[in-house]
Symmetry: C2
Subunit: 243 residues, 2 copies
């Protein structure tokens, strides 16, 4: 069985539509490459009890949990105290992070800036020379900021810690079929290959195809064989291309 | 207390990052205008038991639930049977929808196309002349397709059914402050106005400001007063504009 993950996306601004959520698709793609299935995501509001309860549910049910958002210095940045509460540990000031904050803000540093150095007791820090600001993790929970650029800067540092040599393989055929026309074909393929993920996605906007059919799985030969079987069942004049 | 809502976003393609989720922000904004707080969103995979359990949790805890995705004709489109299971009712063929499907596909219609007319027993249908394809609802659950263009076409038809004359008011000040610098000011404003939502959002990309501060609430005068108090506490030379 592949390893599993969940995402906890924290912030009223995502739920009111003030900010478009922009980390989930990236996280899903990155985990997929590492052979980890992102099974679930929860978007919750800025509330310590809600965050703590959601986190405890997700970390019990999945191998990894990735949180996004709520790590700034303001009153609505509640992720660190919420995670400490979920684990039943204290918030403690991390000297490595305090040094970075003081180095950055110099004599303009405020108590609220320094609050960003407070992390759950027992956390580990992941950083390297290129990205010195550490990612905080406690047990199987990895804590990321919501700002997409920073999320993408920090995630790659974790790759070697998450990799176990497995990956997924993904192939696709782009067609001019409509979904109803080939639903039976795809249903058979899915039933015959319960270990694979078979999906069909109507085109969203101006593309050169109408429907993309994907096959994902851990075994490359199985993925290829399932895609070949689907292609053999498609009307040849409606195949646009194969990836 | 304002009415509350949750979103259930259904589909492996969102979790693997094959498709960027694109309905949540729109839904949050639209509900906000109707005075409804979107409190929570769950993204779950294409699995009948998972969808049914999530739906039952969300519909018990919120006034409304909006689902997105999983309503096409293929094997991974499981929303309708899952919702029927959650409510403990049968799936029944809706003659109004069957007529639309047969009219569209004519003699090329397949059993899989017609499966899109199967809805939970006891559902209501919402449609109008401009958008004849109905939105299916059962009790407090409204069922939408994942394709963003269709979601946006169908949602407005529900507005009169969801409106109760209340709304939220939202104001904002754009500043060149950093968050740590004004976190204490915002924390005071939030503590003094527990009925308002006060948020601060660092700029994402090239904008003319560094930090946007927002005040949302049901009472327009309270919102204005809280924003004015925040503005009075900001360094005057760091205010970019007020909305």
């Amino acid at each position: 069985m592949p390893r599993t993950a969940a995402a906890l996306i924290i912030g009223n601004e995502i739920l009111t539509g003030k900010i478009q959520e922009a980390n989930l698709a990236y996280l899903g793609q990155e985990l997929f490459k590492l052979g980890i299935v992102l099974e679930r995501a929860v978007v919750c509001r800025d509330d310590v009890d809600v965050i703590a309860e959601d986190l405890n549910g997700l970390r019990a049910d999945h191998d990894f949990v990735f949180t996004s958002g709520g790590v700034g210095p303001t009153h609505d940045d509640l992720t660190m105290p919420s995670i400490a509460k979920a684990f039943g540990v204290a918030l403690v000031r991390a000297p490595e992070i305090e040094t970075l904050i003081r180095g950055y803000h110099k004599d303009r540093v405020t108590d609220d800036h320094l609050r960003m150095a407070d992390i759950p007791e027992g956390s580990k820090l992941f950083a390297n020379e290129d990205v010195p600001w550490p990612t905080v993790a406690i047990e199987n929970v990895f804590i990321f900021p919501g700002v997409p650029e920073i999320f993408r800067l920090k995630f790659p540092i974790l790759r070697p810690h998450l990799a176990d040599g497995r990956s997924f393989f993904s192939r696709a055929v782009y067609t001019n079929c409509d979904e109803g026309e080939i639903a039976a074909l795809l249903g058979e393929a899915a039933q015959g290959n319960p270990e694979l993920f078979i999906g069909s996605y109507p085109r969203f906007r101006g593309q050169d195809y109408r429907l993309k059919v994907t096959v994902d799985g851990e075994d490359e030969a199985d993925v290829d064989a399932a895609l070949d079987a689907i292609i053999a069942g498609l009307p040849a004049d409606k195949i646009v291309r194969v990836d």
